[in-house]
Symmetry: C2
Subunit: 264 residues, 2 copies
C-alpha cells in the first residue's frame, strides 16, 4: 500500500493532489520544483520537505508522482536517479505511459479528469481518476490510492486517456474561453458577468439529465437567420469572435435540420 509520496512539480494539479492526499493519511514527504519558491509554498501547506534539485529527491517514498508540464517530463526523467524498482507515475492526459519505461520497472499513470487551479480547492470524491500501470501489482497500488480519493476510479489505457483529454479540452478549455468572450462582450457595454452566471450553471447542470443534443437551444439550432445575421453584425468590432460565431453556428444548425436524426 502506498503510504508516502514524493511530488515532482508544484503546479495546479500537483498542489491540489498534495492537498487532497494529506488528509487521507498519505504522507507527502517532499515536493520538487525547478524553482524553489513554488516548491516551498506547496511543501509548507502539507508539512513536507522541498527541493529544486532532482538529485536530492528522497529515495524511500512509496510513489513518485511526476506532475510537471508535458514538455518537461522527459527532462525530469533523464535527471532522476532513483532505484529501478521505484513506482513512478505521471499525471498527464496526452503522454503515453511508456515514456516511463526506461527509468523504472514499475510505472503507471494517475490522471484525474478535472481542471485544477492553485487557488481553488476541489472535491476529489467524484472526479474520475484514470489509472494505468505496466504490471498488476503497480495497478493495484494505484487503484487503492485512487480509491482513497474518489469513488470513480477508471482503468484507462493511454489511447483512451488521450481521447478523454481531447474531449476535456473541448468541454473545459474551449468552454472556459467562451466564458472569457461572453465576459468581454458584456464588459464593452458595461454589463456585469454576474448576469451570465445562472445561465452558465444551468447549461452545465442541464446535461447531467439531458443528452447535450436534447439540451441545445438558440438561434443556430432554430436556424434563425434574422438573429444570426444581426448578431454577426454586432460582432464586427471583434473579427475573431465573429469567426468563432460563424464556425460554431455552421457546425450546430445542420445537426438539427436532419429529419431523421437518431438522437432527437
Amino acid at each position: 500500500m502506498i503510504k508516502s509520496v514524493v511530488i515532482i512539480g508544484a503546479g495546479n494539479l500537483a498542489t491540489q493532489l498534495a492537498l487532497a492526499l494529506t488528509p487521507k493519511g498519505i504522507k507527502v514527504k517532499q515536493v520538487f520544483s525547478r524553482t524553489l519558491d513554488p516548491a516551498r509554498e506547496l511543501a509548507q501547506k502539507v508539512n513536507a520537505c522541498f527541493t529544486n534539485e532532482l538529485s536530492c529527491l528522497m529515495t524511500n517514498a512509496d510513489l513518485y508522482i511526476i506532475s510537471v508540464k508535458d514538455s518537461a517530463i522527459q527532462e525530469v526523467l533523464q535527471k532522476l536517479s532513483l532505484n529501478k524498482n521505484c513506482l513512478i507515475v505521471h499525471t498527464a492526459g496526452s503522454i503515453s505511459m511508456e515514456v516511463l519505461s526506461h527509468y523504472t520497472n514499475n510505472y503507471g499513470v494517475f490522471y484525474p479528469l478535472q481542471t485544477f487551479s492553485k487557488s481553488r480547492e476541489v472535491n476529489f470524491s467524484e472526479i474520475p481518476i484514470c489509472i494505468e500501470a505496466n504490471n498488476s501489482s503497480s495497478l493495484l497500488k494505484l487503484q487503492e490510492l485512487a480509491e482513497t480519493l474518489s469513488s470513480s476510479v477508471q482503468k484507462v489505457d493511454s489511447d483512451q486517456r488521450k481521447t478523454l483529454h481531447l474531449a476535456a479540452v473541448f468541454v473545459n478549455n474551449f468552454v472556459n474561453h467562451l466564458y472569457v468572450i461572453g465576459s468581454e462582450i458584456l464588459q464593452h457595454k458595461k454589463l456585469g458577468f454576474n448576469l451570465l452566471k445562472p445561465l452558465i450553471l444551468e447549461t452545465a447542470h442541464k446535461v447531467e439529465a439531458l443528452h447535450p443534443m436534447e439540451a441545445q437551444t438558440g438561434p443556430a439550432r432554430r436556424n434563425d437567420q434574422a438573429v444570426i445575421s444581426d448578431q454577426l453584425k454586432m460582432l464586427q468590432p471583434y473579427p475573431e469572435y465573429q469567426k468563432i460565431y460563424n464556425f460554431m453556428t455552421n457546425s450546430i444548425y445542420p445537426i438539427y435540420q436532419k429529419p431523421n436524426n437518431d438522437l432527437l
Copy 2:
C-alpha cells in the same frame, strides 16, 4: 397588479413561464399555439383554456405574453385583435421592444436570461429577468410580476438586451455544442459521456469564484505545441471539429502570452 395572463406560444420558454407563474398565484387563463396539440398539452398542466386561433384570445387578461420564435412575432401581432390598452410583452432576447408599438399603448419586454427546455423544470428564483416597458405604469407592473418569480430583476434597454443575448449564445448555445462534440469524440472510442460530467460542472462552478481568465487551463493556455499538434492529428476524422479546435486554440493562447496582461 398583474393577476392573469394569456400566453401566446407553447414552446420551451412559454412552458416554463406558465409552470413558474401558476404556483405564485398568477392565473394563466389561456394558451395559444399555432397547432392545437402543444397548446393543449401546456394548458392542461396549468389548468388553462387553449386555442389555435388568435381571433379567439380572451380579452380580459392583465397581460399578454408573446413567447413564439422571433420570426413569428410579426405575424402574431398582425393577427391580434385586442383592445389598444392591453399590456403586451414579448420574451425575445434580440427583438426590439418597439415592434409592439403599433399594436397597443402599453407594451414591454419580459426576458428571462436562461436556457429552457420543455422537459426540464427550472428554478426562476435566481434567473435574471430583464424587463423594459414604454411607460412607467407598465414597467411597474412588469417589475412586480418579475419580482414574484426572481430576486434578480433588471431594467435593461433593447440594446443591452441584445448584447446579453449575444453573450448568452456564446456561454450557452456554443458551450452546449462543445458538450455535443465532447460526447461524440468519446462515443467513437466507446467511452461514456458521464466521465466528463464532473469536469463540466467544475468548469461552470469555477467561474462563480474566479474570473474566467484566471480559470483558464490546458494546452492552448500553456501554448503546448506538442499536445496541440497531437490533438489536431487525432481530430483528422472530424475535419469540422479540427477547425473549431484550431480556431479556439489560436484565440486562446495569445491572451496568456502577453507579459503585461492586466487581468492576470
